[in-house]
Assembly symmetry: C2
Homo-oligomer: 209 residues x 2
DNA sequence: TTTCGGGCCAAACGCGCGTTTGGTCGAAAG
DNA sequence: CTTTCGACCAAACGCGCGTTTGGCCCGAAA
């Protein structure tokens, strides 16, 4: 993946030949946290550098531009979440059971990895189309998987057939992602309980009667 | 409302004594459109002025600060939508019927008034807490109304009783607002059909069996 | 012991932002 | 006809941003 390698950490991650600090993972985490707190545009490189205990100019030994941080945060988010979710969607067994597992896992991810989820929503706006393409494609593939799962559930008779699979998938994923807007402040609710509600509302609305 | 009057247009709206242009409504609309397109921080006053056919400094005859534009856009959004929605929630009749009407109206609003809906989501981040309070309170009141409607539906036996009304209300409203993220680009779908899906997924997941 | 280079500092750069100031012009008011 | 005043122009302000440059320091390599 040449395009990806060009974006990697200039020397830390690919060649940690010496036992140096290699604070690259720390950088991505710090950026993710700040992006989640204050948004991408609301976060200055001075903020990031301050959290790392260095000056903003020093960050350019790890990145070539601020947007590199966003790209790597999104990669991390994708690595942690979307991959395992896609695996569930691509599994076998009755479609409705896979869909139920998928909704639960997706809800759990959004409620748990709140920091990395946050960047996904506003990412497309702040990334040049060429750099966003990578994530748009992944998101689209995931959506198509859910769409196929819904269509299969309809064919199996477990899901109501009067809904358009595409629209239903968009509704379902939009709903699951919207959990992020209110779960983190209201931490009194257990993640388990939120997932139960998500499955109830998300799945039972699709189920045939 | 003294605090509100202090934020009103300095002289155009409250005292159009002469038959001047009075481009205040045009300004709010232009700001709303740009905020929806590029976000609040992504929109510069130069952008707004350009759409009005004037220079950015001239805007200060209508506003005292950029954030005034956001406040007035949010007021307009509230005026157009939340008021009528709250009226539906406060009506009479079976709770489930009111809830169904509410979901349909909310979905229709989000799909139709896309420009004004957009600012609501990112507003709290860019507004000082004191200025956001007005909208946070309105949003909270609306949420509580939905919450009460769900609780009443449970008491009437039309809605399943194993869900927490508060969590269910948060899920439902989050879902409805999330429609905004994808309805505008995919304009091929009729608003009517999207509302049908929203009601199906949003309501039928709550309905008792 | 010298060399080398990664990791960071210190200082500056240009730019666009929100905001301010003072002035111009034309139409309504007297 | 003169005055008044709102609507807008023209130009500048300070600031913080992302980014660049040059150099220092110190541990590992030779």
């Amino acid at each position: 993946m040449p395009a990806s390698a060009a974006l990697a950490a200039p020397s830390a991650s690919p060649s940690p030949r010496r036992g140096g600090p290699d604070r690259w993972p720390e950088l991505v985490t710090a950026a993710a946290e700040l992006f989640a707190e204050k948004g991408y545009e609301g976060t200055s490189l001075r903020d990031v550098a301050e959290r790392m205990g260095m000056l903003k100019g020093s960050l350019y030994h790890y990145i070539n531009a601020k947007s590199d941080l966003l790209v790597h945060v999104l990669r991390e988010a994708h690595e942690r979440g979307v991959k395992s979710l896609s695996a569930i969607a691509a599994g076998d067994g009755p479609a409705i059971e896979r869909l139920e597992a998928l909704v639960g896992a997706h809800a759990r991810y959004v409620c748990t990895e709140t920091v990395f989820t946050a960047s996904f929503l506003e990412a497309h706006r702040h990334l040049a189309p060429a750099r966003a393409q990578e994530f748009v494609a992944a998101e689209r593939a995931y959506r198509l998987a859910v769409e196929g799962l819904i269509a299969r559930g309809q064919a199996e008779g477990s899901l109501r057939a009067d809904l358009d699979p595409k629209v239903a998938a968009l509704c379902l994923l939009g709903f699951l992602n919207s959990l992020h807007d209110w779960v983190s402040p209201a931490r009194r609710l257990s993640v388990r309980r939120i997932c139960d509600h998500a499955i109830a509302i998300g799945i039972d609305g699709l189920r045939s009667r």
